[in-house]
Symmetry: C2
Subunit: 394 residues, 2 copies
C-alpha cells in the first residue's frame, strides 16, 4: 500500500541510532555516569550567548510579519548579503548576496545540490570514510554513489582509486573536510591535486564535473588550515550549516554558495531553486535567517573540542591504539583491535564504551569515537579503553 | 549540465509571484497606498503575543542543548503529546504522541505523505480550484495528479466527475478545506458522500484509498463548522501548519496526524519517516517545536479576516460581481467579468487592482482575491472594482 522504499528508509534503524538507544537503555540500568557514549555527533558546547541574545532581541524588536513572514525562497536579501560579506572578509572572496541560497541546514543543502544536478544515469563520487546519508540522498535523486577507497595512513585522498572511479558519467565529487568520521582536514596539496584532475577532465574531454563541498565542520579545526575551496576549482558548490559552529542542529539553518565562476551560473542557481522547491524547503526558518544576519562569521571558541580530542587521542595511543591525530571536527577514527569492527564494538560494550563500527562509513576495520561529550566522561573512559586493549593483548 | 526539470521548476515564475513583483514595482512608482494587492496569501494578523512570549521565555529558560539540539525525526515526544492532547480536547479524538509526525510546515507535510505513499503508476486526485503546487509535488514523487472539475455554485464536490476520475490506480485523494482559493468549507454532507464513495471502493474492490487532508486554514472559518476528517473516513492523513493560525509562515512548523485506524499504521508511519528523511527534513525547527508544545490549541482571534472577507464580498456583490459567500480561509473566488480570466486580471491592473487568474487554480473564468491585507486598502479598492465592473457593462 505504501512505498516499500520509503518504509525501508523510515524503519531500518541506523547503526548509530541503535547504539545510542542501547546507551539510553543501559544508562537507565546502571546510571548515566557509567555509560561512555561516543556514538553521537551532537555538539555539546553551548550555543553562543550572542546567538541567543540576537534571537531574543529580534523577537522583541521587530513587527511579527517582518520576522515570521514567508521569505523569498533563496532567503532574505539582507541575510544573503551578510553571509556573502562574512565570507569575503574571511576568505578574500568576492561574493554577493546573489551567490547565496539559504537552506534548512547542510543535509538540505547537499541534497538540493544533488537534486539540482542529477540526471538519469549520473554518478556522484565520494571518499571513504564518509557520512552514510550521502548514499541515501544520492540514490534518492536517482543517481549512483561511487565510493573511493580509504587512505588510512592520513585519511587524505587515494588518487589512484579516484582516477579509476571517474567516468564520463561523473556529475559531481562530494568532499567533507574537516571530515566526519576521520577528523582529517584536506591539505592544500590534496586539494590542488584533486582540482588538477578535475580541470584536466574539463580541458581534455570538456566534462564539467561539480565539486560539492559539505563543510559543516569548517570552523572546527585545530592548528591546521581549512583551505577555501573556490580558490582551487571553479566549478565548486559550498554547503554549510550553523549546526556545529553555533550548536544549532535542531534549528536547521545553513546555506549553499553558488559562485559566479560556476559552470553556467544562472542555470545552476535556477536548478538549486527548483530542487529546494520540490524538496519542499519553502524557505529556511525566518527567525534564524535574521539571527544569522547578525552573527555570521563571529568567532566561536572551539578549544573545548580540541582539548577533548587530544585527551582522547593521547589516551588511546597510550592504551596501544593506532590512530591518525585529529585535525578537525569532533571525531577520532582509530583502528579496531580486531579485523571485524562490529565484533570489536560489541566487545567494547562490556565496558559500556559505545563506539560506531567503521564499516558504517565505508571503512571496515576502524571505529568512530565522537568526542563532543563531557571531558570528565572521556577522562574516566581511558582506563576502560586500556582494559579493553589489554584483553586483545591476551 | 544541470537537471533541466529542476531548472524549469526553479526559474519559471508562478503567476502569483509575477503579479506580486509587478505590484512591488508599481508601488515604487505610484506609492504603496495606491496599489491594491490581492495577490498573496500572507497572513497579516500579527503573531499572537503568547507565541512570541513563549519563544523568548524558552530561549531564556532552558539550556541551549535542550532547545537547539537535534530532535528525533518525528519531533520531541513531549511536543507530539501536547499536539495530540490539543486535538483530543477539541475534536473528541483519542490520539497520542505516536500519531503525530511534526513537520516543517504543510508543504512538507503533504509532500511527505505523497512520497510515503506513491509507487510508480499511482494517481492522486484533487478538486478544482486547487493549490497549484499540488501538481508540482505529486509529479515530483513520480505520480500523476487527476483534477476533478469545479462546482462553481458552492465550490463543494462534483461527485459525478469525481467518480469518473477514480480508478484502480488511485492511491489518494487530496482535499483542502477551508479552501485556497475558493474560501469554501466542505460540509458534513459533502464529506459523508466523499467518505461513502471511498468506503465503497474498499468494500467492493478492496482498494484502500488514502484521504489526505491539507488543512492549514482549519481555524479560519466564519460561522461554519470545519468537520474533523478522521470521524468520516478511517484511512485519513491530516496535514496541518501553524503558518496561518499563528501567522508563522516563515518558521515552517506543522504536523501530520497518522491515526491508529489508518491502513497498516506501522507501515504508514514508517513510510512517512522515510519520506521525511529523503526530503531532508531532518527535524522540524526545534525552538518552534517547543513553542508549539506551549501554544497548541490556544484560540486565535480571526475576526479581522472575517470582517475583511465580508467587506470585500459585499463590495463586490454591490459592484455587480457574482461570488460565493466566504466561509473560511482568506480568499474570495468571484467570477471574472469576461470569459478569459487572464485578460480580466490584466484589465484590473489599470486600476492597480492585483488579482490572480482562476486558471492558475484549475478554474478558468474566475479570479482569486486574497483579503489578508489592510482593511483600509479593501475599503479604498471598492470604488475601483465598481469602475472596473462599469467598464464591462459599458
Amino acid at each position: 500500500m505504501v512505498s516499500a522504499k520509503m518504509y525501508e528508509l523510515g524503519t531500518k534503524k541506523s547503526t548509530i541510532r541503535t547504539i545510542f538507544e542501547y546507551g539510553r537503555m543501559r544508562a537507565a540500568e546502571v546510571g548515566e555516569e557509567n555509560i561512555f557514549d561516543f556514538s553521537l555527533g551532537n555538539p555539546n558546547i553551548p550555543t553562543p550567548n550572542f546567538v541567543r541574545d540576537a534571537a531574543v532581541d529580534i523577537l522583541r524588536s521587530y513587527p511579527s510579519a517582518d520576522v515570521h513572514g514567508y521569505t523569498v525562497a533563496p532567503g532574505k536579501p539582507s541575510v544573503r548579503e551578510a553571509i556573502a560579506e562574512s565570507l569575503n572578509r574571511r576568505f578574500d572572496t568576492h561574493f554577493s548576496g546573489k551567490n547565496i541560497f539559504i537552506t534548512s541546514g547542510a543535509a538540505a543543502a547537499i541534497t538540493i545540490c544533488f537534486k539540482a544536478l542529477a540526471e538519469p544515469g549520473d554518478e556522484f563520487i565520494t571518499f571513504a570514510p564518509y557520512f552514510p546519508e550521502y548514499k541515501v540522498f544520492v540514490e534518492s535523486v536517482g543517481a549512483e554513489l561511487k565510493v573511493v577507497r580509504p587512505r588510512p595512513q592520513d585519511w587524505q585522498i587515494d588518487f589512484d582509486d579516484f582516477s579509476r572511479k571517474l567516468s564520463p558519467k561523473t556529475k559531481a565529487v562530494i568532499i567533507n573536510s574537516p571530515n566526519n568520521p576521520s577528523g582529517a582536514v584536506y591539505s592544500r596539496e590534496t586539494l590542488t591535486k584533486l582540482a588538477d584532475i578535475l580541470k584536466r577532465r574539463f580541458t581534455q574531454y570538456g566534462q564539467r564535473i561539480f565539486l560539492i563541498s559539505d563543510e559543516p565542520y569548517r570552523e572546527l579545526a585545530y592548528g591546521v588550515e581549512v583551505p577555501w575551496l573556490t580558490k582551487f576549482y571553479f566549478n565548486t558548490l559550498i554547503c554549510y550549516s550553523y549546526s556545529k559552529s553555533f550548536s544549532l542542529p535542531g534549528e536547521r539553518i545553513g546555506y549553499i554558495v553558488v559562485p559566479n565562476a560556476v559552470d553556467n551560473f544562472n542555470e545552476t542557481f535556477g536548478a538549486v531553486a527548483g530542487a529546494a522547491r520540490v524538496l519542499t524547503h519553502v524557505n529556511a526558518p525566518s527567525l534564524w535567517q535574521m539571527v544569522i544576519a547578525r552573527c555570521a562569521g563571529k568567532a566561536v571558541d572551539v578549544t573545548p573540542y580540541e582539548r577533548n580530542g587530544m585527551l582522547l587521542y593521547n589516551g588511546l595511543i597510550d592504551a596501544g591504539f593506532k590512530c591518525v591525530k585529529p585535525q578537525g571536527a569532533f571525531y577520532l577514527f582509530p583502528k579496531a583491535l580486531e579485523e571485524d569492527d562490529y565484533a570489536f564494538c560489541e566487545r567494547a560494550k562490556k565496558y559500556d564504551l559505545l563506539l560506531v563500527p567503521g564499516a558504517d562509513f565505508g571503512a571496515p576495520g576502524y571505529f568512530r569515537a565522537a568526542y563532543c561529550i563531557k571531558t570528565d566522561t572521556i577522562q574516566r573512559s581511558l582506563p576502560l579503553f586500556k582494559k579493553l586493549a589489554a584483553e586483545y593483548r591476551g
